[in-house]
């Protein structure tokens, strides 16, 4: 299985955004005279991972950690600063719009907000058929589209009479189903789902997660699943990547990660997650302070400003992601010096 070409492979992906407005906004006067600042948001800093066919990879992390930027860069909503994005082996990182069009039949996206991601002026059938029509240029192909649209709606638990309605006539959960039908329309191998259930009530959330699992089993889909909710991730993911400040700090198969988290940030994240279970057997790492600005990354380890274990090496040297066996990789100096792992 590992020899097969992965559905998605991302290598050293970097995404930096220049901010700060025009030249005069960025003009600064200091001791050495006038200069023009070039403030850059380091949203994603060298992220690598791969997703095999039929696998679900989850990216977790707090707001601002770059997980959504990774998703949008892979979907080529952004042009990556550096790195490779291989869809079934084909590097699409620097493709133009026209070159991307055939790739989009292999890769579709589901968005967080089911209210903002559907065009309020389109009927459901037009929303669902749109990606399909983009891919089909001849009238002969297009003749099947209406039938196909109805099949898709049935697949996601809506019926034919819904096809003529507008998005505002649906609840949040139903809208998310429409978004899923739209993503499925071109039979992609990879679906990028950016917080697909976080805007939904918990009972509806379960419906959508079940639907996504069923579709995965039926069509052999791969998902890149972005979420901040660890209980959802633990349920749905095969592998989990933990991001902090644009860095991947730990990746591991789900069971390994939740049983033996190694990076201090992962450990803090797991111990901070509230649970309805009475007893907590997880260790308690409480983080102080907040995530530093991605405008000026800390030297060395990205997490050292909040890490309870940090010592001078962490400020001097940026830890690389290293394989620890069992598919687990961690970017932390504690791996070398485990005796420091005491608060």
């Amino acid at each position: 299985m590992t020899d097969a070409i992965p559905m998605l492979e991302v290598r050293d992906l970097e995404m930096h955004f220049s901010i700060g407005g025009g030249v005069f906004d960025r003009l600064r006067l200091d001791r050495r005279g006038l200069r023009i600042d070039r403030p850059v948001v380091h949203a994603v800093n060298g992220v690598s991972f791969r997703i095999q066919r039929g696998q679900i990879m989850a990216l977790v992390g707090e707001s601002g950690c770059g997980k959504s930027t990774v998703a949008k860069t892979i979907a080529r909503i952004y042009q990556p600063t550096k790195g490779e994005i291989r869809i079934e082996g084909e590097d699409v990182a620097h493709y133009g719009f026209a070159e991307m069009l055939p790739v989009r039949s292999k890769m579709q996206m589901i968005f967080q907000d089911p209210y903002a991601s559907l065009n309020p002026r389109q009927r459901v059938r037009d929303i669902v058929a749109e990606p399909l029509l983009q891919q089909m240029k001849t009238a002969a192909d297009r003749k099947d589209v209406p039938a196909r649209t109805e099949q898709l709606l049935a697949k996601v638990g809506l019926n034919a009479e819904h096809a003529g309605r507008y998005p505002h006539q649906f609840s949040g959960g139903q809208r998310q189903r429409i978004g899923i039908a739209r993503a499925l329309s071109v039979m992609p191998g990879l679906i990028i789902a950016d917080e697909p259930v976080s805007a939904l009530d918990v009972s509806i959330q379960a419906q959508i997660l079940n639907l996504m699992m069923d579709l995965r089993d039926e069509f052999g889909l791969s998902y890149l699943f972005i979420s901040h909710d660890l209980s959802v991730v633990q349920h749905i993911a095969d592998t989990v990547g933990v991001m902090y400040l644009g860095f991947m700090v730990e990746t591991a198969p789900r069971d390994v990660l939740f049983a033996r988290p190694r990076h201090p940030y992962t450990r803090a994240l797991l111990s901070a997650a509230p649970s309805i279970k009475a007893k907590r057997d997880t260790e308690e790492i409480t983080l102080k302070g907040e995530v530093p600005s991605a405008l000026s990354l800390p030297s060395g380890c990205c997490f050292r400003t909040r890490c309870p274990f940090a010592w001078d090496r962490c400020a001097a040297e940026r830890p690389a992601l290293r394989d620890l066996g069992d598919g687990q990789s961690v970017a932390c100096h504690l791996v070398d010096e485990p005796h420091r792992d005491t608060v």
């Binding site: 918990v202 009972s203 959802v232 994240l269 509230p274 649970s275 409480t286």
Partner: protein, 332 residues
Amino acid sequence: MTTAPTDTTLLAVRDLRTWFHTFSGTVKAVNGVSFDIGKGEVMGLVGESGGGKSVVGFSILGLIDSPGRIMGGQILLDGEDLAQASEDRLRQIRGREISMVFQDPMTSLNPLHTVGQQMDEVLRLHTDLDAADRRTACIEMLESVGISRAADRLGAYPHQFSGGMRQRVVIAIAMLARPRLIIADEPTTALDVTIQSQILKLMRRQIADKGASMILITHDLAVVSEMADHITVLYCGKVVERGRTRDLIETPAHPYTRGLIDSIPDPANRHARLKQIPGTVPDIRNLPKGCNFRDRCPRAQALCAEEEPELRPQNAAQWAACHYPLMPGDSA
């Protein structure tokens, strides 16, 4: 359930009905809700969107605007009925006796005033401290919610704080006049999980230190189960179940409560499908006859379509509004 309030009861809500008269019909957002909160207790108010949980909070503070109206019921704060209180009296109570923490710390602070001015206002209105004492009190309060260099930060504007820090400021403002009741409406929903745990710990400590009570309004059962002494579950504007936190989570009696708990992914039972509550919340302007939950309920029978269930005691400390409540050990 309708026992008389005792000495240890701080707030007793009785048969509260808050309706909104809209062009497309009357929305009975809160329709006959009753509960008690004891002194020093934390009550969780849980439900899905549209359940009426926020409207309960706003009703207690008298913050219901037209087209909404409190149509009936009592809100007894130490025996005084706030549903009948004048606007002047309510203004004295807000911030002094009862204060509120809202979901979004971005919008609940005034962007045009410094944090110091917004804190000072509470003390100016509700205490007779002089300016210097007020400033000292503000600094102490900011420090107690974990904001360093508090004296400097008084001059800062809300946009200069991060989301978590802003929510700390909001909590500081809410605690400032030492209110007896704090209504926290989704106080951590907009925050990240590590910041959420900081804020929840802070709120728990503040409540315990000051001996205040709290209504914690949230959709997140996990948060409520870690914070609350007892829980009230709302569905379509009515209480469907209430009881002590552990009882309610471990042996829910109402199928809706059970459904909410089962919808949370269970790490021990992975690869199983999640148990989902089928269907969606019915249109509150057009509720079904009988039990509001019957269309989604796996236990519904003929009686459920005929007669609306009353909130009845299931055991000494748990009430549920269901004709066929779950017994401990029943499968859903």
